[in-house]
């Protein structure tokens, strides 16, 4: 069972505020979802199954070359010095 405290903890580690309405409604809904995925517990923990779908050879990786972009990726909250202004840290 997901208690209101569990939910608050999940919301905290996910950095999401929940509305009163969601705090009320979510425990039951998430419970049902978790109950639904609990069926995975029936599967054996077989280590012999290779879990990886894709492989990439070393030779295919990007070579170490510089290619500068236009640096226009950030365009809000930029100070005169070019720093990005974030919220308070303390």
């Amino acid at each position: 069972m997901i208690s209101k405290e569990d939910l608050e903890h999940l919301a905290q580690i996910s950095r999401i505020n929940l509305t009163e309405y969601e705090l009320e409604k979510f425990p039951k809904q998430l419970d049902k979802t978790i109950e639904y995925i609990d069926i995975l517990g029936e599967l054996a923990s077989d280590d012999s199954v290779n879990l990886d779908l894709q492989e990439l050879r070393f030779e295919e990786l990007r070579t170490d070359e510089i290619r500068m972009s236009n640096n226009k990726q950030l365009n809000k909250n930029i100070t005169e010095d070019g720093f990005l202004r974030g919220p308070k840290m303390k």
Binding site: L10, I16, N17, L40, S45, G86
Partner: protein
């Protein structure tokens, strides 16, 4: 002659090349169609009228000057609004990205532009691709062109509805657990989820990276082949992309070994099951063999899908803290983590639910119980399917277990909503290609057939679909006006 706005993609390219009409005339006819039907459908989030018209004029100029115009010249394309378009807002139908304008084009967008396609605008979806109806769009739901009271499917509901309603020649969607095939089925159009790795994901705003692919939604199989070939290929910007050979439109009929997945039919609505059975008979009529098979691990597919998709989503969506880009929410006096939580309160309900579930299944103590088991199931399922594909060319079943439903029918019960994806998630988990093809109607509501093949065997899907498309005689355009 067919009305301009009713032309298929390959007919547009032919018509332009032969000088039957100009690109500008064609785009104007499409824009007029949008003006007429969009108030009923609501498939667009952003419409770029000016951009489309100026691209069209450029193509006309190239034609006059006898320059190369590209394989998709003049074809109007609607883009699901989770695919990055440089200079055009890309919102993911979320409040969080309502002002976000990408500084780069997704690789698929570059491919389209290079081939003369005309971008019309951005199409509606469930927020970040999480949903099966477009009801979770932050802006508005999209309506099913075949019956406006019904959902168009999702999450690429805008793409499915726009193509069906003739608001664009073709569209791009993305498919994480069925998001191309579900709306294709509900809107009676052709939609393909390619093999994982065939199409670059660079620029596709991630919901669940290990499952999703960009794919085309079209009104004909031939159009779909054109689109697929242009967006496919290994891309240096996506380490998971792989090279593939081009697909051709078959010029002779191929005798395929077809197998119907039994469970997918028995668990479907009667009307849907009936329609799929009669299609399997059509396969036999055109000379294919058709047997029934069972998939042992099917039962675990959907729980596994929701575990993996939510886990990946919880991490992918962590970056939306509104510091670097986002919507208007002043920094004020908030401490950083309070600010993050406040900002992220603006995710929609379904997105929040999946993030919370994702955080839960990855938490220490639960990782082995859920996440690892889900990955294991995924490998088992893939192995099982690969074994079946040694014997059969394609596996078929209904794309959706049910007919399109009315707005609000499932929105209050997440599990009920998740269950509609049960047939489609198989292909995402296994990384195999799957197509949804229109096969009929029940009470005016569309039914789609899902065909799956082994990895990179898209050609077999096309062979099967192209044949079926010719023998299935159904209404191709909804009566909207």
């Amino acid at each position: 002659m067919t009305k301009l706005d009713d032309l298929l993609a390959y007919e547009v390219v032919e018509g332009l090349t032969e000088g039957q009409f100009t690109a500008e005339e064609y785009v104007i006819s499409i824009l007029k169609r949008i003006e007429e039907v969009e108030p009923k459908i609501h498939s667009f989030i952003t419409l770029d009228t000016e951009g489309a018209l100026s691209s069209a004029k450029l193509i006309d100029k190239k034609i006059r000057e006898k320059e190369d115009i590209g394989q998709l010249a003049g074809v109007t394309v609607g883009i699901k609004d989770n695919i990055s378009t440089k200079g055009i807002k890309t919102t993911c139908a979320s409040k969080i990205l309502e002002n976000y304008v990408p500084t780069y084009d997704a690789t698929v967008i570059r491919n389209l532009k290079e081939n003369g396609a005309i971008l019309l605008g951005k199409l509606n979806l469930d927020e970040f691709g999480m949903g099966s109806t477009t009801e979770y769009s932050r802006y508005h739901p999209t309506h099913n062109p075949w019956n406006l009271d019904y959902v168009p499917g999702g999450s690429s509901g805008g793409s499915g509805a726009a193509v069906a309603a003739g608001e664009c020649t073709v569209a791009l969607g993305s498919d994480t657990g069925g998001s191309i095939r579900c709306p294709s089925s509900f809107c009676s159009v052709v939609g393909l989820k390619p093999t994982y790795g065939r199409v670059s994901r660079s620029g596709l705003i991630s919901y669940a990276n290990s499952l999703e692919q960009i794919g085309p939604i079209c009104r004909s199989v031939k159009d779909l082949v054109m689109m697929l070939n242009i967006i496919s290929g290994k891309d240096a910007m996506d380490n998971t992309s792989m090279p593939s050979s081009p697909i051709t439109v078959p010029n002779k009929s191929n005798k395929l070994n077809v197998a119907v997945i039994k469970e997918l039919i028995t668990d479907s609505d009667q009307e849907v099951a009936k329609s799929v059975y009669s299609t399997s008979e059509k396969f036999q009529e055109i000379g294919c063999s058709c047997e029934e098979v069972s998939i042992k691990n099917l039962h675990y597919a959907l729980p596994s899908y929701y575990t993996l998709a939510s886990a990946e989503a919880s991490s992918n969506l962590a970056r939306y803290d509104n510091i670097r880009y986002g919507f208007d929410y002043p920094i004020g006096e908030y401490k950083w983590d309070t600010y993050f939580s406040n900002v992220r309160e603006n995710f929609g309900e379904e997105v929040k639910r999946r993030i919370l579930i994702g955080s839960y299944v990855l938490s220490s103590g639960y990782y082995g119980k859920y996440y690892l088991k889900a990955r294991r199931l995924r490998s088992l399922l893939r192995l099982e399917l690969l074994t079946l594909f040694k014997k059969y060319d394609v596996l078929i079943g209904p794309t959706m277990p049910i007919l399109p439903f009315k707005f609000g029918e499932k929105i209050d019960d997440p599990i009920k909503m998740y269950l509609v994806d049960v047939n489609t998630v198989i292909a995402n988990l296994a990384g195999i290609p799957a197509i949804s093809l229109p096969i009929g109607f029940s009470n005016g509501l569309p039914i789609g057939l899902q065909i799956m093949a082994a990895p990179f065997e898209e050609q077999k899907l096309i062979d099967a679909s192209y044949e079926l498309e010719r023998v299935i005689d159904i209404q191709r355009r909804p009566n909207l006006i």
